[in-house]
């Protein structure tokens, strides 16, 4: 597959830094020992780490779905008596509150599970919207003439270079934080990366014979894009999408941590961390649990992303 110029390696969003210049340098002559290896068949080999990651995510997703059944939010019985209870293994813990309670006496486990909903809704929807917009624009840039290409790719460069978190907090604040505005704003973060990858792959694929054949027979452009090109770039898109779930969950947590996320009754992991900041010296468990769970979720997603990339995308270099 030598015609593939843009390697769809996403070393985290951060490393997609590689502008075309970097990519040119990075486009490698394959390492000698790999070059002589016979074509390996890619099998779905499950790494134990991947299995663990999937289990962690499954537990979180299921408990978030069932949150209202397993741990309904209780407001009655809240009092100073249940305030700042430590997790179960410590002295003075209360068996009703496994992971302890926060400064207002809320059960942290309950809050974690309900907070997962915000993270998961935003984390699944925003990358999906990014992907749809980005793939659409990337196809346009790849298929259409030079002017369209230039305009779209310039916009991509601008979007990618601007610090996204600053853009996001300004927009969320102006639009007022609701679930809808949060999703819209966070979708802006990803489209450019999807567009860049799609465009690169489209450029490579459209030179192939079967595309020329389809064009020659008179298949309409949209149909070529959807039927003949999209299935070929789907693997890269899925890999990028997976990584973006993690990125968006982090971004949402950062926004809530800065106090600009969904306003009160809503529960979010980032917001729990902010509350816990002031209790580092006497109730470390308040920020500990949300911090742990955010990290775990993102590590799991990145592990699965890495695995998917290896499985789906044999050309990607490690």
């Amino acid at each position: 597959m030598t015609e593939k110029i843009e390697t769809p390696v996403i070393e985290g969003i951060k490393a997609d830094a590689a502008s075309q210049t970097a990519r040119m340098l990075a486009s490698p002559s394959p390492a000698p020992e790999e070059a002589f290896e016979p074509k390996r068949r890619r099998r779905l080999k499950l790494d134990p780490l991947v299995v663990i990651s999937m289990l962690i995510l499954a537990v979180i997703v299921i408990s978030a779905l069932l949150a209202d059944f397993i741990v309904p939010i209780k407001t009655e019985g809240l009092s100073f008596l249940t305030k700042l209870k430590p997790p179960f293994w410590m002295e003075k813990s209360d068996p009703r509150f496994l992971l302890g309670t926060d400064s207002a006496g809320h059960d942290i486990l309950t809050y974690l599970i309900h907070g997962a909903r915000t993270s998961l809704i935003v984390g699944l929807l925003a990358p999906t919207i990014s992907a749809i917009i980005g793939v659409g624009l990337g196809m346009l840039a790849g298929f259409r003439g030079r002017l369209t290409d230039t305009i779209i790719m310039r916009a991509v460069d601008v979007q990618i270079s601007f610090p996204f978190l600053i853009l996001a907090i300004v927009l969320v604040a102006v639009l007022k934080p609701t679930m809808f505005s949060l999703i819209v704003v966070l979708s802006i973060g990803g489209w450019a990366f999807f567009a860049r990858i799609t465009r690169g792959e489209v450029r490579a694929i459209r030179q192939r014979d079967y595309i020329h054949a389809a064009e020659a027979v008179g298949v309409p452009g949209l149909q070529i894009a959807l039927r003949h090109v999209l299935p070929n770039i789907f693997a890269s898109i899925i890999v990028l999408w997976t990584f973006f779930i993690g990125i968006i969950i982090l971004a949402e947590a950062a926004i809530s941590f800065l106090g600009l996320g969904l306003p009160q009754p809503a529960i979010s992991w980032g917001g729990m961390l902010t509350d816990g900041r002031n209790y580092l010296d006497n109730a470390w468990w308040i920020p500990f649990w949300p911090g742990l769970i955010i990290s775990l979720v993102v590590i799991s997603i990145n592990t699965i992303g890495d695995w998917l990339r290896d499985v789906l995308d044999p050309t990607a270099q490690r």
Binding site: A17, S161, I166, L280, S295
Partner: protein, 320 residues
Amino acid sequence: MAVIASPGRTKSSSYFLTGLLWRLLQLVLVLWIISTLLFFLIRLTGDPADFLAGANGTPESKERIRQAYGLSDPIVVQYARFIWNVTHLDFGNSIYSNLPAMQLILERLPATALLAFSALIVALLIAIPLGTIAAVNRGKFIDRFISVVVALGQSVPTFVFGLLLIFVFAVNLKWLPSFGQEGPQYLILPTIALSLGFIAQLTRLVRSNMLETLNQDYIRTARSKGLANAIVLSRHAFRNTWLTIITILGLNLSMLLGGSVVIEQLFSWPGMGAKILTAINNGDYPVIQAGVFIVALIVFTVNSLVDYLYQFADPRLRGK
């Protein structure tokens, strides 16, 4: 660079000049678009006078604001005036303190620059050796170990890592202060927290780049000449990696500026990000506009410069 002095020099130097002009033009265009977006930002969701007057604005105060900001003029006039002022870096006065918004942002710039710069240095100092060690020991235990550290660094959010640092070094060990800016020791924790993600990314980059480079013929030649491993790595292999690091510096700058909002808030570091955040919380739109504009100005100027300078470093890219 001997390559630049090759035949065809006059041709390439004129290319460099037009390249510079072209980049400047693009820079102006981007800043103009950003300014336009900023202009419409506060008109996005309603009457800007409502925003500017704040939550407890009376009809009179709104009227006064309309007068003061010329909000009764036709929108085209307002837009022209805004763009004209932007070219003078004038975003009006802060609603909160009545000082020029741009001044409020600029006086915070040194603190952010200091933080970002020290994070950059720390990241380079840690990531380059780490990535090189991983590449040289490819597949061995130390490589695996470094890759686990890198994976953690990319997944643990800055604010969680920052809180952890505060918990360990400020609350428990009491070695370092966790907030403020009164001396060099105040810089340590925020710098480490900010550099984490960057270290992870850079280590990965250095490793993969080194792996590629180490397989090149000229490295084998250098080795077969009997040069010491350290010299081969530092003189021959690292040159290539360095180029790649420069290319992504522009993007890392944007990463550092974005991350600095969170870190500055967490460590009460009096930088630009913290100022923008305060302005957002106060609904202080002139300061928000000035802040976003300055961030854009810095990021895009540096990116253009890096892109431009890169061509001097890599002759292969000329004429592209």
